[in-house]
């Protein structure tokens, strides 16, 4: 099968959905003739013009609120934030309006809106271009939170988002955008709430996501040479969260580590660990562990940036610690 980048894969889903559904339109800064800062809309403006590829002034609250009204009246906006940090200027519209609209209208209004953007630490982007923030949105009822790791998942999950009637946060880690992977040319969808078993193993389960998946795989490759067998699970969507796949794995391995680039307090690790404790306590042979990014704003200097993100070494160490429990 041919290989394309993560960004190109998501763009294929967008292009095909826009071809089929004339109510889809994209807004964002530089997503028109320029094709998006990260090439998310490359080539689409020429085909669909300014009403459907709408360059905006820098008014995140303004265009998110506008797209809320659009979604309430029969169209499907895709908001392209470039950097996801910018979403914080629109947080009131998202939390008070977008997430609550279906409920408050007792399901008579739908909220088919996609909020996409680049997340994550890397490349000395510094603190206003490195945030991830997804635990905040997982906490709130009403959002679908999607975090593809591979090009294949980027296309299939974006296709699902483009046909969903719920608000979807589609988060693309900056270190993954140019990663290539095998992607079918035809349209396909991946359901939300279905984890991917990245590799099978027997001695411990590692739940991880985004840019951490590759690092965990590297650690597991090295551990395999020592005869250690680790199962790795990428949830792919955090809301809904496929806890059943994690529970099945822990039933088999008895040990669980969550590796996540975002912060530990009230984070994904805390949530996964608690749900496993609630439903799978008897399967656990050791306390659940988590490994997170350091609880700090993101510094600029490579010397500082490098030490706040889990790496292959710290992941390997954490797995050893877990197995020693």
């Amino acid at each position: 099968m041919r290989e394309v980048t993560y960004t190109a894969a998501a763009r294929e889903a967008l292009a095909e959905a826009m071809e089929k559904d004339p109510t889809i339109f994209v807004v964002g800064e530089g997503i028109g003739p320029r094709g998006g800062n990260f090439n998310t809309t490359q080539g689409l403006y020429e085909k669909y013009g300014p009403m459907r590829l709408r360059d905006t002034p820098i008014v995140e609250r303004g265009f998110v609120g506008m797209c809320t009204g659009a979604a309430m009246t029969g169209t499907r906006p895709v908001v392209d934030f470039m950097f996801f940090d910018f979403i914080l200027d629109a947080i009131g519209e998202m939390v008070n309006q977008i997430a609550k609209m279906q409920y408050m209208s007792s399901g008579r209004l739908k909220m088919p809106i996609i909020l996409r953007g680049c997340i994550g630490i890397g490349g000395s982007a510094a603190t206003h271009h490195s945030g991830s923030y997804y635990p905040i949105f997982v906490h709130l009822p009403g959002f679908r939170v999607v975090l593809p790791t591979t090009a294949y998942d980027a296309k299939g999950l974006f296709a699902t988002a483009l046909t969903s009637n719920d608000p979807v946060l589609f988060l693309e880690h900056k270190l993954l955008l140019n990663q290539k992977g095998s992607v079918p040319e035809e349209w396909y969808t991946i359901p939300f709430g279905q984890a991917r078993i990245v590799r099978e193993g027997t001695q411990a389960t590692v739940v991880t996501l985004g840019s951490m998946v590759r690092k965990v795989e590297e650690a597991c490759d090295a551990l395999a040479k020592e005869g250690i067998s680790i199962e790795v699970i990428d949830p792919r969507t955090l809301a809904p969260l496929d806890i059943d796949t994690v529970l099945e794995s822990v039933h088999k391995t008895g040990r669980l580590l969550i590796v996540d680039e975002t912060f530990a307090p009230c984070g994904i690790g805390a949530e996964v660990a608690m749900q496993v404790m609630e439903r799978g306590f008897d399967d656990l042979d050791a306390p659940v562990m988590r490994l997170n990014g350091v609880h700090t704003p993101t510094p600029y200097s490579p010397a500082l940036e490098a030490v706040i993100v889990p790496n292959t070494q710290s992941i390997t160490q954490a797995i050893h610690d877990l197995l020693a429990e």
Partner: protein
């Protein structure tokens, strides 16, 4: 004066009828609040009836209205029946939001009432988005935002008006300037109290009218809506008015405005004002008003009885409609 207008007796009387429905409904709600039948807030529209009435008279159910926390009048004028409004404030399953919203969250998308809101500002952006939908889908409909003077120092005002202006969206912005944002005077809150002038800096037609004169509102709204339907872009109407009851039922009304001021505005009652004009101009007779009064009294009585006898929502439904599926 009135005879110069191309309006017939039926139109005048239907405006009168609509204003009276709002007034009597609000009076019923105030009474019910005092009797302890409304578990939450109750923001009445008494004194401002001419605005919702004059604007919504031009709208169909396919036009989208987005409103604010003082939105009972907008809901009623847009076509939500009084029994659904009263039942909603009573927290009943038969309310227009099925008991999920109360005074500040009235929804009836079936008639184009896309929601009132407990947050000041978002309605401006959402109406802008409805305009975007209608333009994208090539529909002759209009997005209308109702908001108070309290919204015009907010970023949503400036961001929304600017977006509608640069994209020529079919939107009508209606500012109900009742001189107080909750209990903070507009004269204190801004150096430039000319709201229409502020709107006109975004290069859209902006007028200021007597918001207690339903004919003045009706005429201005007619122009603005005609312009929007013809694809000529957004317009702005500032309606100078006053709420003659406290911000919310049960709240103190002293310390920020005088009894004299309230009494002065009560003398400028929009409903009595229209009646006097029609009588003086021999366009209607006392009998016409008596008939309407009897009709409306019966309607609100029935609505109250319906609401009072309606069931509360089934607690088993409390998590329904958070997501579309």
């Amino acid at each position: 004066m009135l005879k110069d207008l191309a309006l017939d007796k039926q139109t005048f009387l239907s405006l009168y009828h609509q204003m009276l429905v709002i007034r009597r409904c609000e009076e019923q709600l105030a009474k019910s609040y005092a009797a302890g039948m409304i578990p939450g807030a109750c923001h009445t529209y008494v004194g401002e009836e001419a605005i919702a009435t004059g604007v919504c008279a031009h709208l169909t159910h396919a036009d989208a209205v987005f409103s604010t926390h003082r939105g009972h009048g907008h809901a009623l004028a847009k076509g939500v029946p009084p029994h659904e409004v009263i039942a909603e404030l009573f927290g009943r399953a038969t309310g227009c939001s099925r008991g999920r919203g109360g005074s500040m969250h009235l929804f009836s998308p079936e008639v184009g009432l896309m929601g009132t809101s407990g947050i000041v500002g978002p309605c401006i952006l959402q109406a802008t988005g409805a305009g975007y939908s209608f333009k994208l889908m090539d529909k002759p409909n209009v997005g209308v935002a109702f908001f108070g003077d309290g919204a015009v120092n907010n970023g949503a005002f400036h961001e929304g008006l600017n977006l509608a202006a640069i994209w020529d969206l079919p939107v009508v912005y209606v500012c109900e300037n009742n001189m107080y944002a909750t209990e903070v005077a507009f004269s204190y809150a801004t150096r430039n109290q000319d709201v229409a002038e502020r709107a006109s800096t975004y290069k859209m037609p902006a007028v200021s009218v007597d918001g207690n004169d339903v004919i003045a509102v009706y005429e201005a709204a007619g122009e603005a809506i005609k312009r929007a339907r013809a694809g000529k872009g957004p317009s702005f109407i500032e309606c100078k008015t006053y709420r003659t009851r406290p911000h919310a039922e049960g709240m103190r009304d002293a310390g920020y405005r005088t009894t004299e001021e309230i009494e002065e505005w009560k003398r400028r009652d929009p409903i009595m004002g229209l009646k006097d004009k029609l009588l003086v101009g021999n366009l209607a007779a006392e009998g016409d008003f008596a008939k309407i009064e009897a009709e409306v009294t019966a309607l609100i009585e029935e609505a109250y009885e319906f609401a009072k006898n309606s069931p509360y929502p089934d607690p088993a439904t409390v998590t329904e409609h958070i997501y579309s599926s």
